[in-house]
Symmetry: D2
């Protein structure tokens, strides 16, 4: 594996570390140090041992892992929601997508992955510490070039783009920002919102009813995990 490659290192207990390969460096884990050179040699699917002898598995990080591994200071969206948003908003290679607020850049990272090198993500954040955190998080996974970060409060400034294919609002009071959406997107574009409380959903629906929005739906996504024992399978 070449320098700069992202690798996922999984401890015997399932603890996960995402790192960029840098020859000559070390990874510090709870079970001891691991040489980057050994990781590069083992390759994806391989096993390396920490200097204390603990076996670590090397995998190529999926988008799922990258999202989960984001350094966060904010609540992030989860893969169960992000996956649905991708399909529902029609995000795909070549898309131009607007998003706000950036937060820790978990969704930004996913959007940047799926628009590919021919697409673009325009993301807005009004708090400087998150703007910088997102910058680091995007650089860390090598996706900065697909993202245009704005430090601004869109409720006041609106968006600088026009004709975007899709738009996602993750702000506290999205109803106050709705007027900025039509000028920024292509006619008939899909928009998404993430809101934790039912009060916010009611407020947003009230705002959306003013138009020009149609085909409105509200839903939540639940994941039920099962214990993976074949003879004692259970939720």
């Amino acid at each position: 594996m070449a320098a700069g490659q992202l690798v996922l290192i999984i401890s015997p207990k399932g603890k996960r570390y995402t790192h960029t390969l840098e020859p000559g460096k070390e990874v510090h884990t709870h079970d001891g140090r691991i040489l980057m050179s050994e990781i590069a040699e083992a390759g994806f699917g391989g096993i390396v041992r920490s200097h204390l002898g603990h076996p670590y598995r090397i995998l190529k990080p999926t988008v799922y892992e990258l999202i989960k591994g984001v350094k966060r200071q904010t609540q992030i969206m989860y893969p169960k929601e992000i996956g649905y948003v991708l399909l529902k908003l029609g995000i795909q290679p070549g898309c131009r997508v607007i998003e706000t607020g950036t937060g820790s850049a978990g969704l930004t990272l996913a959007l940047a992955t799926y628009v590919g090198d021919t697409g673009k993500v325009y993301t807005y954040e009004r708090r400087e510490e998150f703007y910088k955190l997102a910058q680091k998080n995007l650089a860390r996974v090598g996706l900065s070039h697909r993202v245009e970060q704005h430090l601004a409060d869109i409720e006041e400034t609106g968006f600088q783009q026009t004709g975007a294919d899709a738009l996602f609002l993750d702000v506290r009071e999205p109803q106050d920002c709705l007027r900025h959406i039509p000028p920024a997107v292509t006619p008939g574009a899909t928009c998404g919102f993430l809101l934790p409380t039912t009060n916010q959903v009611s407020e947003l629906l009230r705002g959306l009813e003013q138009g020009p929005f149609t085909e409105i739906e509200a839903l939540e996504i639940l994941v039920r995990r099962y214990k993976c024992v074949p003879d004692r399978l259970r939720p």
Copy 2:
């Protein structure tokens, strides 16, 4: 809009039709006929009327709508599952993905969308009628060039590819096909499975335990929809 463009036409009652624009042709709906030329003129976000006067909304179909609109003779995967699969398997532009069985090509269509023009989907189906149905469904949405369709029973033949980035099995008895996975994928690649019954999940888990599979998880995804009335919001 140009000929060949996919359009989504939504009736006043929410019924949805996906069509390819063909100048001079008509769309037949439950509420009367609509001229393709008028659709092209109205553009995305516009409104056209059937010859009986009913207003239809014109939108650009998202991946979500394309999946929902697939002509089906088989049970299809739903967007709630497909979205999660995309993230979890790390599907992204440039990926080479193997899938079986093709069925009505609902998942194939989503995979083909997200691997982009630089990626490839290899899909296997052992029943000729589904092979042909999938062929039509993929052609209809303009994604045939990103998909390599195989008419084969992979339990017997295995896969013809090597080094794939991800693999998805949607067959009745996946445990009988597990031996074909390692030769087909790159070390450390992610694999997914879709199974409707708990008995099948148990059988699969038994098979996976034989190795070389690790990091196994089982889950189901539920969607709760809400009635979108701001003052009477409810599931």
Copy 3:
């Protein structure tokens, strides 16, 4: 079986009829008539045939079946909620419980069952047609003697009882009735509410915060049914 006994009759397709045994009468079903005398002879667990030859199963109706079989003109509470309410409110033999509104008397019926002959249910309804419907529904299952029905709008009149062990409000705007609760119940009594929309829950919580209510919780109960095929068990 004696005259006056409640019986549950189940058709081959699972359709359910609850009836009171009356010697010499007949039950009319979609598959023909059944003689009450034959039902009495067959007894619980037995099978009788309609005059067209269709086999019907005779069972003793459980509370669950009685609730489900209530003639309704209103939305009723479901057994999943009622069961939880019984435990949470501490309904048990000998209890004195207040309830409003009566509606179709689904919950009333359950409460009357569980307070037994030593307890009492006081139920209020402001609409006369529901008052009468409830009267019929309670008489039909032989529980009238445990219930005291009031035709009144409690928001205006309040409750006539004092020292009740528990109280349940199933009205549109329970926050406007909260002031009537403390005089009607014993100190520390438990109260329940049923509300379909999240807006109503917010309004109620606002009201409850004014006191003297404590130990407040809000929840919803979901039932997931499984298809009962042993080799293809699935939700």
Copy 4:
């Protein structure tokens, strides 16, 4: 309040203690000691202070609280399931119910509450330590007189009762005990089962298909709790 009365004492942080009033004794909590005499004086709905000054609320324990407060060495059934079982099995004042295994007596306690003084619960347990624990738990809440405890392995011995109104099996392999059910219950009686894994459900369904069981259903019950903030209501 009189000696022997069960009281629920709730700490400022919501920690719950169930106790029997014994004049002259003290309750030991994490926040200091409370005099039983002060509890008796405060009464239900009242407040007492520990010797360190912390305010504790006094309530009458509901069935829900008693179940939750059971001293347990086994997994217990939860109120969400127990409530449903009561309605579905038609448990009511005067019923004779058989149950096995007793375990920590959580369900036994609920059944004993609802059959009242005119009913009876027959409960079987094969492990002596649970038999004794259940004995203590039932005595503690004053319900021993409604319960007949058996120390026996019903798979071998079967049940000693006949004509029971309902029966509940909470054992690992209920299919091996099914033959003992028909002799023990009245014709058409309802039976319930609790099983944590899907494999067990499949095995049981296979057993039930051998007859004479009909009207079979399988389900699970989920509770979604909400955070009770009126302006930020959320699951």
